[in-house]
């Protein structure tokens, strides 16, 4: 039932968006401007912007990947914490403490800052 409702809502959103594109096509003043130059304060672009972008926080992505996997365990843990009692709480928070130790180590190494 939820699956059907989700599909109906999605179909309606795509329909409305299509409708907007249709109305825009109807009332358009001119055809889509093709080959426009990107905005660089009035200058012509010297290179394509689609290049190897030097991201400054790549260490943050790796720490995020590792820490995020902890969430995989936390969601089912949230269901059973009421029955399992203190042992589940202790286990999960030991698990979290280990990962937080990793994050503090990364902070000391300067990985949370932009290079």
């Amino acid at each position: 039932m939820t699956f059907a409702n989700a599909l109906i809502a999605l179909a309606l959103v795509l329909g409305v968006t299509g409708g907007l594109y249709g109305v825009a096509h109807l009332v358009r003043l001119g055809s889509t401007g093709v080959g426009m130059r990107p905005f660089l304060s009035g200058h012509d672009p010297a290179e394509h912007a689609l290049s190897r972008f030097h991201v400054r926080w790549y260490a943050l992505t790796m720490i995020f990947l590792a820490f995020d996997m902890e969430m995989v365990f936390m969601y089912p843990w949230a269901l059973v914490v009421a029955e399992k009692g203190t042992s589940a709480v202790v286990e999960m928070f030991v698990f979290l403490a280990i990962l937080m130790a990793g994050v503090v180590y990364a902070w000391r190494e300067g990985a949370l800052r932009w290079t």
Binding site: N5, A6, A9, G30, G35, F39, M74, T86, W107
Partner: protein, 307 residues
């Protein structure tokens, strides 16, 4: 207590969200007009609808060597994610969808915004758009974990990931009362999720509108509508998880939900007007070293109360 609406309920979901989005946009432009001393703020009430009309009229643009399919898809994906995020949020007694893992579904739908905003920035083949798109991913990496722990706290409190159970578990006392840290962090991360001010660095003016630098016409309209819908869905989920959904003394349940969501939306938009734009090279450390331990302690406190 929350029962599933039949199929036509799903048809009502996008219009209700759109109504909330327009109301929030009107409130936002009224605030800006009052600050700028422009003509009567009442005239600003029509500004968002006039702006939408203007965007419909505006000519669309495609930059040179742009990745057009991915770029156009970004706006539509953002709008779809904005609507699907509140599939499981109950309005009063009705909910369009009822998943046993509603909270995880809401979390998954807002992550779609990461891909959509990056694509809008990357697809335009423009330096400012690229910088804006990457800023949003840095923002995502910083706000996501406090957000997840803030979502987990009510789940622990209710012992279930189903939003209906979380709402019914708040009969006695609303979760916002005994999970204040999780509530505040959740509201802040809802602003970050919808890249609204103060977390609007990806679309800020220092890079000529960042991700929005090359978007015009109906593509821009769909993208901005998606952004508003995401904010409305976040506010709706905040009401369901922390403010007891439809619970309230006199008025019918759905009216309580509407009032609470409107109040949360107004608070979020108002907070946006008060705070400067937060840059991520400063916020990342704050999020990882202050917000994550705070929400973890909140989760610890909640789990101790629960066992």
């Amino acid at each position: 207590m929350i029962e599933l609406t039949p199929w036509w309920g799903a048809l009502l979901l996008p219009p209700v969200l759109a109504a909330f989005a327009v109301a929030a946009a009107v409130f936002d432009s009224a605030l800006t007009a009052r600050a700028a001393g422009a003509p009567a703020p009442r005239a600003a009430a029509g500004a968002p609808l006039r702006a939408a009309g203007g965007l419909l009229l505006q000519q669309r643009r495609r930059t040179l060597a742009a990745d057009a399919p991915l770029w156009r898809g970004a706006g539509i994906t953002l709008a779809a994610a904005g609507v699907l995020a509140s599939l499981v949020t109950p309005l009063g007694r009705w909910a369009v969808g009822d998943l046993s893992v509603g909270i995880v579904w809401f979390n998954a739908m807002e992550i779609v915004a990461w891909a959509a905003v990056w694509l809008a920035g990357w697809g335009a083949n423009s330096a400012f758009g690229l910088v804006g798109g990457y800023r949003f991913i840095a923002q995502g990496l910083s706000y996501e974990l406090p957000h997840m722990f803030a979502l987990t706290a009510p789940a622990i409190g209710a012992g279930s990931l189903r939003v209906a159970d979380v709402v019914s578990a708040q009969d006695g006392l609303w979760f916002a009362v005994w999970m204040p840290v999780a509530f505040l962090v959740f509201l802040a991360t809802v602003l970050a999720m919808a890249f609204r001010r103060p977390f609007d660095h990806p679309v800020s003016r220092d890079t000529a509108g960042g991700v929005l630098a090359e978007l015009s016409g109906v593509d821009r309209l769909v993208f901005l509508a998606g952004r508003w819908l995401l904010l409305v869905s976040g506010a709706g989920m905040a009401v369901a998880l922390f403010l007891g959904g439809g619970a309230g003394p006199l008025l019918p349940a759905w009216l309580w939900s509407v009032l609470k969501t409107a109040a949360v939306l107004a608070a979020l938009v108002w907070a946006g007007h008060r705070l400067p734009t937060v840059r991520m090279d400063r916020f990342a450390e704050l999020a990882w070293l202050v917000l994550i331990p705070a929400t973890l302690l909140q989760a610890l406190f909640v789990s101790i109360v629960v066992i």
